[in-house]
């Protein structure tokens, strides 16, 4: 028994050490964000802030990023909701109304999840220019919704596949149509999946960079593009930059902390069988 306790203590030590390593970058980001620049430049980056918390870093960071945070919010909220609705409909049809070739169609849709977007970037830009959606947020929303179809369809399809067909058959006997079954039986049952998909799409679109940098012009930059620009500009002090990074990361961090369970399910869905 004592040997077992010793082993457990060893495991705890390893786990705690690793946890510290994993949290360190985030801890430092927060710590640096609340310090004055004199404390950052000197060799005190690891020590606690001495002369009070410097909230002004956050204000400075916020001033830099405020329009972009708004842009990101304006983009991400409709994107996540519309994606989820579309994915839900696709998932329902592909799980419960199989026809010849439906599995093939599903596989072909799924492939879209893995492609490197560099391979479609040139046509995408030309296409968005030709339909006059280039440079603006609605265009970015459209692109995120379309390239989100594979993952949202996958999550909903797997979820609906787990719901027994008996309930649908009962609905049919009562005379419900295809859309009626969706509207009155499946849709009310899908709240957990909606949570997973909305949270997933929210996080993805918030963190996404490639489409954002290519498809929007400066006044419509989402927060990732603005943050990258800020970091590359050399003019910003470290403490302000870290405060800005924290501001840019906070929405998804909060989602993870409070809704982590749903976030994880989205994460696992990406691995197909995982």
């Amino acid at each position: 028994m004592t040997r077992r306790t010793l082993v457990h203590i060893l495991f705890y030590i390893i786990l705690i050490a690793l946890a510290i390593v994993y949290l360190l970058p985030i801890y430092l980001m927060v710590l640096t964000g609340v310090k004055s620049i004199s404390q950052v430049d000197l060799k005190t980056m690891w020590s606690m802030p001495i002369n009070g918390l410097h909230i002004e870093n956050f204000i400075a960071g916020y001033k830099q990023l405020a329009p972009n945070i708004t842009n990101s919010l304006v983009m991400v909220i409709p994107e996540a909701i519309l994606s989820a609705l579309l994915g839900s409909l696709n998932g329902y049809l592909l799980a419960k109304w199989k026809f010849r070739g439906s599995n093939l169609i599903f596989s072909l849709i799924l492939f879209g999840m893995f492609i490197p977007y560099q391979s479609i970037l040139i046509p995408l830009v030309k296409f968005m220019q030709s339909i006059k959606l280039y440079g603006d947020i609605p265009g970015l929303i459209l692109v995120h919704i379309i390239y989100g179809i594979p993952i949202t369809t996958l999550i909903f399809r797997n979820y609906y596949a787990g719901i027994g067909t008996e309930i649908l058959e009962a609905g049919r006997i009562d005379g419900a149509s295809l859309m009626g079954l969706y509207r009155y039986i499946m849709f009310p049952l899908s709240a957990p999946s909606f949570a997973v998909v909305i949270i997933w799409q929210f996080t993805q679109a918030w963190n996404e960079f490639l489409f954002a940098v290519i498809l929007t012009n400066q006044s419509n930059w989402p927060v990732t593009v603005a943050l990258n620009n800020l970091a590359g500009s050399q003019l910003v002090q470290w403490n302000v930059l870290m405060a800005a990074t924290l501001l840019a990361a906070i929405p998804t961090l909060l989602v993870y902390i409070f809704l982590g369970r749903y976030f994880l399910r989205g994460l696992m869905a990406g691995a197909l069988k995982g």
Binding site: L15, L18, A19, Y22, P25, M29, D41, K43, M45, L86, L93, L94, W97, F99, N103, I105, F106, I109, L110, F111, G112, F114, I115, P116, Q118, S119, I120, L121, I122, P123, L124, I131, K132, L133, I146, I149, T153, L178, T203, N207, E208, F209, T224, L227, N228, A231, W238, L241, T245, A248, T252, L253, V255, Y256, L267, M268, A271, L272, K273, G274
Partner: protein, 340 residues
Amino acid sequence: MLLGVVFILILRSVSLVIAGKDLTSLAILISGLVFYAGVLIIVSMFQSETVLTIALLLPSIIAVAIFVYGFIGWSIRVSLSQWKGLNPDYTWVGLKQYYDLFNNDPRFVIDVRNTVMFTVGFIAGCLILGLGLAILLDQKLKGEAIFRGIFLVPMSISFIATGVIWGWLMNPATGNRITGINLIFQSLGLNSLISLWHSTPMPWGMAFTIIPAVWQLSGYTMALYLGGIRAVSEDLREAARVDGASEFEIYRYIILPILQPVTLSAVIILAHMSLKIFDLIVALGNKAISLDVPGIYMWVTTFDGTNYARGAAIGILMLISVAVLVVPYLVQSMRSETQL
């Protein structure tokens, strides 16, 4: 259809009034929706549920067909042209762009080497750490959920944020301006460990970009493994214990072999991520040539250098490298599912 055209005409005239804002796209969208609603109404008269199913799936199918497959085809066509400059030039040059990339383009050689180095290190790091963490968390220790949560935190922030934070932690400045991890090493007296990190001269700078990538994705690998370990029934382990197997032997001879499919999935997913790696390196390296990867080169050569044909060729090569990995995996997943 007719309604749509009327809509466009109306909106055209309205758009002249609303501060000259171009509403063509909105008009296309609305007319499309009106047209689609008409199709749905006609289809629902037929009483055939299969037709209705397909009609309802059609917008997504068309969107994916155009935005994924159509655009890939278009990109391939661009990559076979000599389009350079802002005006499209589809003059056929065959595989010249690809030939030039491999034979007359030192930057692409750097890209390939960097990608290989990054992929190998990244996958190895994630698998080893991920499996180690999963086994540690499988010991039924108190507070397991908290630890699991901590290891997954990096997954929720963007590659850009990770790149910015680690770009500072791995700051190469020395002397009075020393900071980041180098400062820890200095204060601990480990001067020999002070490093230039990702600013190390080629080719080894790239190796350091693996650190933030592993930091971000090893938790994910852990979650994949943990799912696999939890799927091993307790009965099986108990039976092995009764037969006198030690805990180590249980992992070595029972759990690891069962985890092989999980490892395969993890390798494929991590490899396809690393072949596409882009944002993290942009945020870390600010487009430095020594840290160049195909994703960045494609971006720079296309949109900064306006060499569209070359950019398209790089994009298609990236696609091929990912497809080689993912297509067999997708086929396998689908096949095993239809057997169920």
